[in-house]
């Protein structure tokens, strides 16, 4: 369990350090997971542009996979992937 800070230790001025969303693993909210097929993928970056959680991993100018620590399984990437390509499919989360 997260230990919440009291008023004496809480940072002043209602401020938060920047970029802390990265440290918060939201991936376990998922009921469906996107699966990326690198052989079909044409690296058009439409999924990367549309992903609300910045969970599309890009390396050396290519989409290489999904960041499952932060992907919430919304399915936008699979829907936006061009139908002729269909490089991302949604599958039930197996836990």
């Amino acid at each position: 369990m997260e230990k919440k800070l009291g008023w004496k230790n809480l940072p002043q001025n209602d401020i938060l350090e920047a970029g802390t969303a990265k440290d918060f693993k939201t991936g376990d909210w998922r009921s469906q997971r996107p699966v990326h097929n690198p052989e079909k993928c044409i690296s058009c970056f439409i999924c990367w542009i549309n992903c609300p959680d910045s969970a599309i991993i890009v390396k050396d100018g290519k989409v290489i996979g999904i960041d499952y620590d932060h992907c919430k399984g919304c399915g936008i990437c699979a829907r936006e992937c061009p139908p002729k390509v269909s490089a991302i499919t949604m599958e039930p989360e197996k836990k």
Binding site: K4, G6, W7, L10, N13, D14, I15, L16, E17, A18
Partner: protein, 389 residues
């Protein structure tokens, strides 16, 4: 240097000498001249300020908040309806702990529409988390505005310094101005610990804060207000050391041996001093307590200095419409009660919409007080002074 300045001119001159990074304002009577004169300073290149003419007071305060969070030293000026329109943003400024300074000119609130001086506007903002400093005259408005910069930045709380509309804002008086160089040295350079334009140390501000953290942040704000008391006294001590004029939480005028006393804010305190001197010449022991710092309210200190008088009259230049008393009266009686000080206290609500309060009005109050302290007279607790029946 002794110069003749109106209250508005004095505040504009103080702003020029402070030379803030940003001033965002929407001028309003009777504070119009403050930003009017200041914008001329900007146009003449006498200050380095980015002046932003906003489309409303709400926007003006919003721009102040953005600029302050970005790391700028920020000032604005307003009055009455203008302060009322800022209301929502006042809480954002204090909640974000931004040291914004407002030069406020006290004016009545509509309706009926009225442009004259009373304290309804600032009293409406008394629980918004701002430090509030009342000034008796142009000199105090000038000195308070300069001190406000240091107080705000040390306490990390916004400060509003107020004067009475027209009575002070448009009255030319002799003030002793400090040299530009000395003011610059006194207020120093603003170096915020964190600021948004510091791209090497980025942060988020104003985030959602629900049941789990909001209360802790508000508790911090309350603590900041408590801590600001020592900061206010420290800045006043430094100011006195540098420029010789003494300031504290309040001014006691011939109070130490007084039988009865008036407690009032702003310009009325000046007229009361005149009456105190006059009555003292006839051997009547009357005195005055003039609170300067209204937020944080110096509860314990006020209870202590009022403990020796037999009866007090608290004069309120605004009403709470609570079916009871004015705001200053409830503060004063609350601090007397909790300190166990048993002093008879009555309230006079006066001067609404700029209704003049003359020597004879104040003499009347003192005479009523003398009757009360002799136990001869059962007065109403709350009275309206100077209103036609």
């Amino acid at each position: 240097m002794k110069v003749a300045k109106t209250g508005n001119e004095a505040m504009a001159e103080a702003m020029r000498q402070i030379n803030p990074d940003v001033v965002a304002a929407y001028p309003i009577t009777p504070a119009t001249e403050i930003v009017m004169i200041f914008s001329q300073f900007v146009a003449d290149g006498l200050v380095d300020t980015e002046y932003l003419a906003a489309e409303s007071e709400h926007s003006a305060m919003s721009a102040c908040i953005g600029s302050s969070e970005a790391g700028a030293r920020v000032m604005t000026s307003t009055s009455s309806q203008g302060l009322a329109l800022m209301y929502e943003m006042l809480y954002v400024a204090s909640g974000l702990r931004l040291p914004i300074i407002v030069a406020e000119v006290n004016r009545a609130l509509s309706s009926p529409i009225n442009i004259h001086g009373d304290h309804s506007d600032t009293m409406g903002a008394r629980d918004s988390g701002w430090i509030q400093i009342f000034s008796e005259n142009s000199q105090e408005a000038y000195d308070n505005l300069i001190q406000a910069v240091c107080i705000a930045e040390k306490a990390r709380l916004p400060v509003m310094v107020s004067t009475d509309g027209f009575i002070i804002s448009h009255c030319m008086e002799v003030i002793d101005m400090i040299s530009d160089g000395e003011v610059k040295k006194f207020v120093g350079e603003y170096k915020p610990e964190r600021y948004l334009l510091d791209i090497k140390r980025p942060y988020s501000c104003g985030a959602l804060d629900l049941q789990d953290y909001y209360f802790e942040h508000k508790r911090q704000e309350a603590e900041a207000m408590i801590n600001s008391k020592n900061i206010i006294l420290g800045v006043a001590a430094e100011f006195e050391k540098s420029f010789g004029r003494k300031y504290g939480f309040f001014e006691e005028y011939r109070l130490s041996d007084a039988d009865v006393a008036i407690v009032c804010l702003g310009s009325t305190a000046g007229t009361t001093k005149f009456v105190v001197d006059k009555m003292r010449q006839h051997g009547i022991k009357v005195g005055l307590l003039k609170p300067r710092i209204y937020r944080p309210f110096p509860y314990a200190e006020i209870a202590k200095v009022l403990s020796k008088v037999k009866s007090i009259a608290v004069l309120d230049r605004s009403d709470t419409f609570s079916s009871y008393a004015g705001p200053l009266f409830t503060e004063i009686t609350s601090c007397l009660y909790t300190a166990g000080v048993n002093v008879k206290a009555v309230n006079y609500i006066y001067g609404l919409g700029g209704r003049d309060i003359g020597i004879e009005n104040i003499e009347y109050v003192f005479k009523e007080l003398l009757k009360i302290s002799e136990g001869k007279y059962a007065a109403n607790i709350v009275n309206y002074l100077g209103v036609r029946e």
